[in-house]
Amino acid sequence: MKNRMWQKAIMFAISLILGIILVTQMRTKSNVLGTVNSDEKTVELNEELAKLNLEKNRLRDELELLKKENRENEEVYKDAEEELLRLKEELEVQKIISGYYDVKGPGTIITIDADPDTYLSLASSHQFILALISYLNNAGVEAISINGQRYTNYTEIVPVLEHINVNGVAMVLPLEIKAIGDTSTIKSSLYFVGGIVSQLNQIGYTIETEDSDEIFIQRYDGEKQFKYAVPITRNEDI
């Protein structure tokens, strides 16, 4: 009886140990291999990797092309940017010359007057005013006005009776001529021996010059219509 009990106990123990080993083995296997077949999985992974590799190569080629295009663009646009800047400066210079914009800058104010007792006809001395402007231009001035009238490309100084008309506006003494430019060059261009100032003094005018760090010159308000002149395009032979 006792012997039988032993036998049963041993059998139970062996079964238990076998059961534990079995379950442990099964678990380990499924942990390590997963639920799918390892060979199949390898093939799948291989395929995915190959696909990714293709994608990577495609992107690399695309990136190279795009980078090249961008480099070219960069150059083109850098040139364009520089060109634009240069053109803006050129336009600014042309606008200043045109006289259609208010301008300011350092320069000289020249006041032409005469003693009230002396009789001087401004009309008959208009050539001296023209010469004065010519000598101001000789000094490289960039803007001139006569009693507020901007001297433009189409400004004429016309003697009328005893006065002069500038841009069609009548003017009498004193004349205030403003010039923007280098003040010392202006002075030396006007004041040399036998120069325009001494000529004006000789016929009885008084000239005063005053330098200023900032002179304002108003724009010309009129308009110029062209009826005869036609621009010659660059390709045309002159």
Binding site: I21, E74, L91, G105, L130, N153, A229
Partner: protein, 242 residues
């Protein structure tokens, strides 16, 4: 009885042994060296795939940013701006005399009085800078749209000044005879240099200078050649400033 029992025990023992062996064999199920290698490989693959995915992702981002840069360049309007400013410059240059023009007008030739007239001082027989300046002004007053003297375009920043026996215009010296070309109304321009009482008439009839005027239907006046003219002192006052 005891023999039956003994043999039964032996049978059970054998059965349990077989079962254990079968279970162990089944549980092992192909885990050999090759399997382990495959598993390691699979892990490696997975790792590579992760890395590759990251790389592809980064590259995709780089491609996107390059594409955006290209789109930005395309959207910028440099060329439009350049064209716009260029047409503005062309217009203002025409006005300012930086463009060669053609049209009807007159040609005037002025040169010194070469006769030995004892009544006139030598200085009175010579064409002076101021004579040219006044003639140019008379032509402007007669509506000249473009003027040149010996090929030098006269604009509002041109100087016409004495340079010894020569005259300096636009920084270059020119000798007599002075040939002035003006474009505008032919008759008005012609009258401005020929009618009695005009400055040109005086030069010719009082001072004996040679003043010859001729009309032309298609004259050419060259452009001002200070192409690189720059302003250093004057600047435009912007709206609202002052």
């Amino acid at each position: 009885m005891s023999t039956i029992k003994k043999s039964l025990n032996i049978i059970i023992f054998v059965l349990v042994f077989l079962a254990a062996a079968a279970i162990v064999n089944g549980a092992d199920a192909g885990i050999d060296e090759y399997t382990i290698y495959t598993i390691k490989n699979a892990n490696k693959y997975e790792h590579s795939i992760e890395e590759m995915k990251l790389l592809v992702n980064n590259m995709q981002n780089a491609v996107d940013s390059e594409k955006k840069a290209i789109a930005d360049y395309k959207a910028s309007k440099y060329q439009d701006d350049i064209n716009e400013i260029n047409s503005q410059i062309e217009q203002i240059k025409f006005y300012n005399g930086f463009t060669a023009v053609r049209g009807p007008g007159i040609m005037v030739r002025v040169s010194d009085n070469i006769s030995e007239d004892p009544e006139l001082d030598i200085m009175e027989r010579i064409v002076h800078d101021v004579d040219i300046v006044v003639l140019l002004n008379d032509l402007k007053a007669a509506g000249a749209e473009a003027i040149e003297v010996n090929g030098k375009r006269i604009i509002n920043i041109s100087e016409v000044v004495c340079a010894g026996p020569l005259i300096r215009v636009n920084g270059e010296v020119i000798p007599a005879p002075f040939v002035i070309i003006a474009i505008g109304d032919m008759d008005e321009l012609y009258d401005a240099v020929t009618e009695e009482g005009t400055y040109a008439y005086e030069l010719k009839n009082t001072y004996g200078m040679e003043v010859v005027a001729a009309q032309g239907y298609n004259l050419t006046v060259r452009e001002f050649r200070g192409i690189n003219y720059e302003t250093k002192y004057a600047e435009i006052i912007k709206e609202g400033e002052k």
